[in-house]
């Protein structure tokens, strides 16, 4: 299925004339291209019959939608209070040191983008780290080298 077709399938789930398929469409485009480039936004806009500016205005509101390229893998560490009081910051620093980049940046080999994020909704299983959107629970700084090795392949 082409992206255009997949977006039409999403549109069919919602009442005619609504723009409800915007988020699903942006998600599909991001899954295909890795990030929402101006070209990707134009493709989504065409499929939804709206303007690229509308798509960008929506995309820029949401944390999970990337308007700049990211690495092959995405590592997101929750640093909200429940995770922080049991050592999330040490986990962040371990990733920074293993990857050689700061939170908010991508490792030099382009493999991994590291971010800190707000509460992921797994507070009792802290520290929560989302690796390519899949949650790892009870992560400690000691676990970080193995995770990074796994991602570097």
């Amino acid at each position: 299925m082409t992206l255009h077709e997949a977006i039409q399938a999403e549109r069919a789930k919602y009442p005619e004339g609504s723009q409800s398929a915007t988020l699903p469409a942006l998600r599909l485009a991001q899954e295909k291209y890795g990030w929402l480039s101006p070209e990707a936004l134009r493709e989504v806009a065409d499929a939804l019959e709206v303007t690229p500016a509308f798509c960008k205005s929506v995309a820029s509101f949401y944390d999970q939608l990337h308007l700049a390229p990211i690495g092959e893998h995405l590592v997101e560490v929750c640093t909200n209070v429940s995770c922080a009081v049991v050592g999330a910051q040490q986990v962040v620093e371990a990733f920074e040191s293993e990857l050689g980049c700061r939170a908010g940046e991508t490792s030099e080999d382009g493999k991994v983008t590291l971010r800190v994020v707000e509460c992921l909704g797994g507070c009792g299983w802290a520290t929560i780290v989302a690796v390519d959107n899949a949650y790892r629970t009870h992560v400690r700084a000691d676990d970080v080298p193995a995770i990074v090795e796994e991602l570097r392949g």
């Binding site: 409800s20 209070v81 910051q89 707000e118 909704g121 507070c123 299983w125 949650y135």
Partner: protein
Amino acid sequence: MASVEPIVLANPTTSLAEYEAGGGYAALAKARELTPAEVTEELLSSELRGRGGAFFATGRKWSFVPSKEQIPKPHFLVVNADESEPGSFKDNEILSRVPHRFIEGCLITAHAIDCTKVFIYIRGEYSGPYAVLVEALQELRDRPDIRGDITIVVHRGAGAYICGEETALLESLEGKRGQPRSKPPFPAIAGLYAAPTVVNNVETIATVPPIIAMGGEAFAKLGVENTRGTRVVSISGNVVNGGNYEIESGMSLREIIYDLGGGIPDGRALKAVVPGGSSTVILRADEIDVGYDFDSLAQLRTAMGSAGIVVLDDRCCIVQLGIRFSEFYEHESCGKCTPCREGTRWLTAILRKLEDGRATQRDLDLLLDVCDRINGKCLCPLGDSDAIIVASYVAKFRDEFIAHIEQGGCPFGGASSLDHVLAPIQMSHSREREWLEVGHA
């Protein structure tokens, strides 16, 4: 209070066959024998109140939906599965472990409000629960006897706390930026696509099947006055056994923390408890002999909220706690209302000044003044939450704030459990700074 048999998290299974073998979907059959008004009547007699945080009577909310003669438009049920309140992860557990009970609740509710289209708005980060839910719905594809004429669409968010606010959620579901609407009109009259809409939380919906199965009156015998039934509470922070536990409403907070949560690890002392997610007024260690119910917590001017209990030991600096939560609200403010957009940023900045030892008594006064200038002045409670909790930290731990002023810095001297925590808002600040430096060069 004696422990209670779980009713929401009972017999966890993701399999349709197992769920049905345990009596699953029998409540749906029972409900379909009743008229919509009779189902709503059961909910009214159960005295169930919404589990998302606002604690509004569920049966009443349903009864507000006008008839199709009054407003000739389709009705919608929208389930709020955008759980994002720091400290709360109960809906994650419910969706992952009892997806069919949740779906059964959706189908019963759809019958009660006379709707054929259900939207489940699930936060984008919950890819695990999303997969479970989609799998469970797949299993129902060949079961028209269960589905009836109802279509359930699972709609994924994309990372925005504000979309848990019901009108922001509706905006987001309509494909827009998730910014709250002005109320009225309320969603019951003009919600999704300007049609009558009921918005209910995941736990509320998952509590509907057991209510129909046991009868509203039997459910209302559980718990205490004004807080009936059970509650799934999330325990996290400095506690031995973090996790979700289903309790009978009214169990004491001390029992929840020590008997269920296993108490404080590493031989540390309890300092404070956030009782219902980040947005609720903090309790000191000497205030936890309180029932976990609406009235008891209201006497301490706090609330169950979304039942996220965050336990903090004596290594936690309260000013840093204020900074970290304030950074969260600053990051998640949608920017629509000025007091929230600007005020949350001010709160973070003044708290940071206190923490860094650059503050005077006047800054502490300014902090509380900014709280006053946010509270009650916006379309939604996001900014209020920041203002209320920060003011509560000052009220309950004033000595610690004064110590920051008098000692010219943090009395923990770098040993606080929240020392130097990098928040997402700081990532964007540093980007801004780089940009500004480039701009000046």
